[in-house]
Amino acid sequence: MIEIKNLTVHFGGVIPLDDLSLTFESGTCGLIGPNGAGKTTFFNVLSGFVSPTSGSVTAYGDDLLSMAHYRRARWGLRRTFQTEQAIEELSIYENVAMIHEHSSSSRSTRRTDVLGAIDFVGLEPNPNSKVMTLGARDRRLVEIARAVVGKPRVVLLDEPAAGLPDEETEHLGSVIQAIPGHMGALVILVDHDMSLVSACCAKTAVLDFGALIASGPTAEVLRDERVMRAYLGTEAV
């Protein structure tokens, strides 16, 4: 469980997050909103790249904001970025193993955990192959494997399906759906692909201009008039 209270972020005169209060209980939760709504800023606060002006973030009883960024990973916070971040010159195995090395997981289970994560995301190439030899889909899966290896507690996925064709998004969706059951982690999924969000997330929160405009069961939220307005605008065409 992750509890956000009165979170405000200022970038000079811009306020990407404005007094946001929100709770993510468990399972896979969606976080959607139009471009510039503050979703990535929210992830950046959680992973430590942006310091909020005020507010608190409590995850499983721990104060996340007081930890150094790299310590949050040890605590169990994982994240993928909008841009690809799998390390090209390392092999699939090394890419996943390095996350395990810097986590709180024990060394003795490393091989099993790493191969387990690679298997979990359904990566078929030889784990010894370098990431630079892989295609877009497999690279994305390497990133997911990095996010779930060992004992993740909160997994933040920032537009994991961006740029993937539909049938690959479908496979990705089934992997994302399986994370909470398999790894016991809370997953927060940001994506513009509403079919992916609907398929993966029981609950979804919607941001617009840094404020929460709706939250609840995904199907209801997507039908919400305020959400439609935020995405499509209010003017009659």
């Binding site: 916070l77 994982r78 971040q85 390392l90 195995y93 390095m98 986590s103 010894n128």
Partner: protein, 353 residues
């Protein structure tokens, strides 16, 4: 069956794959040749030149580690080498410590100095880091011009203009060929130390940092610590190499370590290749063997500097991974081409039309 065989091999560092086996065999053969064959074939002039090349290959390894693996441009590695040389000379002249301990001390003390210098430098990156390291190298050169290198004189600085002292060599390697062999073995140990780092946790953390610092941070990598670690390791190996330098020549002079040499070293490391440790070996050879050849041929020994400039341009435009990466591929292509030519002009050897 094959698939499971692959999986069981993953991640175990004990067993060696076939490609690595071939590589190890090549390295072993090369080493035997360098240690046994080369000193027999070369004149004293070339043996001394080769010893310098070996020492500078280790310094180049430090540059390659910082630039190629971590993405930090350091233009001060020759100054670090000079620090190691100073410490090594001091220990050789003022103590009777066993020679390996002297080298270890040069490495460790240079490492501490290197980290102290690197500490403020870590706050900047890219061009600014390059500039800071270059300026610090300049500062070290200025200080060394005043203090000079120890030659057995009195006091902490140990320098006396009129003193004829020579920096000692290890008792098992007093002759030039023996000292060359000794230097090669020390260099191999330093290369092994760096390769071992690259293949374990720090190497993976460095790869993450080079690709993207934010991503490395979210992966749990303590970026500052690992950058410092890289600085420490590069300074250590360079310090050990510096320790060899004094004993090689017997005397050290400040003019051997001009600040510009750091820039030239950086250029040859780029030419050799920063993504493979072989690039460092090539860099040492380019930096010493080429000028020596030019001297023998009666060509101005400043010419290599110009050639290195052109070389960097050529490497960056046509083979960014360096000569160590490109050369074997070009040779393979040439081999194939020759093979095809030979086949074409061999009258129906295979019976085909």
């Amino acid at each position: 069956m094959e698939a499971t065989g692959v999986v069981t091999r993953v991640g175990s560092s004990v067993r060696v794959s076939r490609g690595e086996g071939i590589q190890l065999a090549v390295i072993a053969a090369l080493l035997v040749f360098v240690l046994v064959g080369l000193p027999q074939l070369l004149s004293l002039f070339w043996i001394d030149t080769s010893t310098s090349a070996v020492v500078y290959a280790v310094a180049a390894l430090g540059v390659g580690l910082l630039v190629g693996r971590v993405g930090m441009v350091s233009l001060g590695q020759v100054a670090v080498l000079a620090l190691g040389a100073w410490v090594g000379a001091k220990f050789c002249l003022s103590t009777s410590l066993p020679y390996p301990i002297v080298l270890l001390m040069s490495g460790l003390i240079t490492m501490v100095l290197g980290v102290l210098i690197g500490l403020p430098a870590l706050r900047v990156s890219g061009l600014y880091l390059a500039l800071v390291t270059l300026m610090l190298a300049g500062a070290i050169t200025v200080v060394l011009t005043v203090t000079n290198f120890p030659n057995g004189g009195k006091g902490f600085l140990g320098y006396d203009e009129n003193y004829p002292g020579t920096i000692r060599r290890p008792s098992i390697a007093t002759s030039d060929p023996a000292f060359f062999r000794y230097s090669v073995i020390v260099a191999v140990v330093m290369f092994a130390l760096v390769v071992w780092h690259l293949r374990s946790k720090p190497g993976r953390a460095w790869a993450a940092i080079r690709q993207s610092e934010p991503a490395a941070l979210t992966a749990g990598v303590n970026v500052t610590l690992y950058k410092m670690w890289a600085f420490a390791l590069a300074s250590f190996v360079t310090g050990v190499a510096g320790g060899l330098l004094g004993s090689g020549a017997g005397k050290l002079y400040t003019f051997q370590f001009p600040t510009s040499q750091s820039v030239i070293l950086f250029a040859v490391v780029l030419m050799g290749g920063i993504y493979t440790v072989w690039g460092a070996v090539l860099a040492g050879v380019l930096l010493w063997v080429l000028p020596a050849l030019f001297t023998i041929w009666g060509i101005d020994s400043q010419l290599p500097t110009i050639l290195f400039g052109i070389g960097v341009l050529q490497v960056l435009t046509t083979a960014p991974a360096g000569i160590a990466y490109q050369f074997p591929r070009d040779m393979a292509k040439l081999g194939k081409l020759l093979y095809r030519l030979v086949r074409r002009f061999t009258p129906s050897a295979s019976g085909a039309s």
